[in-house]
Amino acid sequence: MKRLFKDKIALASLCFIAVILAFALFAPLIATYNPTSIDVRSVLSPPSHHHILGTDTLGRDIFSRIVYGSRISLSIGFIAVGIAVLIGIFFGSVAGYYGGKIDSMIMRLVDIMLCFPTFFLILAVIALLEPSIFNIMAVIGMTSWMGVARLIRAEVLTLKERDYVSASRVMGGSDAWIIWKHLIPNAIGPVMVNATLGVGGAILVESALSFLGIGVQPPTPSWGNILMDGKSTLGVAWWLTIFPGIFILLTVLAYNLLGDRLRDMLEPRIKG
């Protein structure tokens, strides 16, 4: 942990993520306007004293929309990844622990899932169901668990041979007990990296879906649908595109860099 704080890039990423987290948690206190209040007089005004990041086609304050949008992006990011991790841990530990036919079946499922171009799969599912925030979280989660499953399976394959697992079995530990108490806590290290990077990925997917109009629906602000509004007005109102774009970029970058640094921190320890 201490080493993470010493690393400047990791520290910077953490600070930025903390800021966005603050946006999400304290949105009503930070936002300058109500994100959905329409103000016809200030339609498409550039960044100014009153609206620090400008306004959109309906006169809504961009900064406030971005602050409230962070709630959507972060919650979708965390929950989708949470779902993916839970599914991945389940399949990975069962496959690694039991081996044999169960392992083959689960790994075939992983292979099949990996064959789908995930984004188009998500598009298709959302198009069929209604684009609610819950559906988005669930679909992203259910299409990105495969990496976690493989990682957990690989770790479990090694860990299940450890003497402390045998000792537990001798003392009467059931399969479920061993998997839950001994294997998962020890296998979860590499998943932290995967999960951190996954949050960035989930944010990107949500933004893309919302940009295409089938993600978060207006008037709820999401960084993606603010971008969608900006599409038609790009020539006249650059702030509608640039600002949400920058926030998406920086947030995903922060998660990616944090994940990278986490991986570097874990790797030498694994080797040593």
Binding site: R162, D163, Y164, S166, A167, S168, R169, V170, M171, G172, G173, W177, K181, H182, P185, N186
Partner: protein, 245 residues
């Protein structure tokens, strides 16, 4: 009264060769082994690497099922102490939880704190050890924790699989003395597996010498060492390098 009875135990492992992992033959890890351990004894199983002693130990513990033959245990829930103190304790668990696991699994968690304190006394570790993690201890200390874990459930029978082989020689003696002490205080029976003839002689009453999956000689330790019958036993004994005093 025999606490462990093994009768013609066999365990073969398939050898897979080639890209398609076809079965090319078998490794006869345990090839027809029979022996009995009397209650209260410290029974030594000695042999070089690959002779099958560890496999046999796992079969006695129930971790592996024999392909044929039988193992009868006149006791419930034996315990085990493994060789590698760096792998036998879960690195993510505190010592308290490591020690308590056996009791928790057997639903005997009453008076747990008191029983753990008693165990700590026996293994001579301080009370504050319970909140620490394994990596904060030395190899010898970790082995003590492993012993503590094994004795907490008050087992009648403990399998010790090379318990001192990974330790420095001064620590080895400490741990062996601790095991002897525990045997006296708690009336435990040991199956003591080792490749080190000196250690087995120090610890054990009756011994069995294993080679390539079979027992070649059994008998009282002192007698076997002073008057070995089987040529392999003789060869093993002559390879011991004692210091020339």
């Amino acid at each position: 009264m025999a606490i462990v009875k093994c009768n013609e135990v066999k365990k073969y492992f398939p050898v897979r060769r080639g890209y398609l992992r076809e079965e090319a033959g078998v490794v006869k890890a345990v090839d027809g082994v029979s022996f009995e351990i009397e209650k209260g004894d410290s029974f030594g199983l000695v042999g070089e690497s690959g002779c099958g002693k560890t496999t046999l130990g796992k079969i006695v513990l129930g971790l592996l099922k024999p392909d044929s033959g039988s193992v009868e245990l006149a006791t419930s829930r034996p315990q085990v102490i493994f060789q590698d103190p760096y792998n036998s304790l879960d690195p993510k668990m505190r010592v308290f939880d490591i020690l308590a696991e056996g009791l928790v699994l057997q639903n005997r968690a009453v008076n747990m704190k008191k029983r753990i304190e008693e165990a700590l006394d026996l293994i001579k570790l301080p009370k504050n050890a319970v909140i620490k993690y394994p990596h904060q201890f030395s190899g010898g200390e970790r082995q003590r924790i492993a012993i503590g874990r094994a004795i907490l459930t008050k087992p009648e029978f403990i399998v010790c699989d090379e318990p001192v082989s990974s330790l420095d020689v001064t620590i080895q003696l400490q741990i062996l003395n601790l095991l002897k002490d525990i045997q006296k205080k708690l009336s435990v029976t040991y199956l003591f597996i080792s490749h080190d003839l000196r250690v087995v002689k120090f610890m054990c009453g009756r011994i069995a010498v294993m080679k390539e999956g079979r027992i070649v000689e059994t008998g009282n330790a002192v007698k076997v060492y002073s008057d070995p019958a089987h040529p392999y036993t003789k060869q093993l004994l002559s390879s011991i390098l004692d210091i020339k005093v």
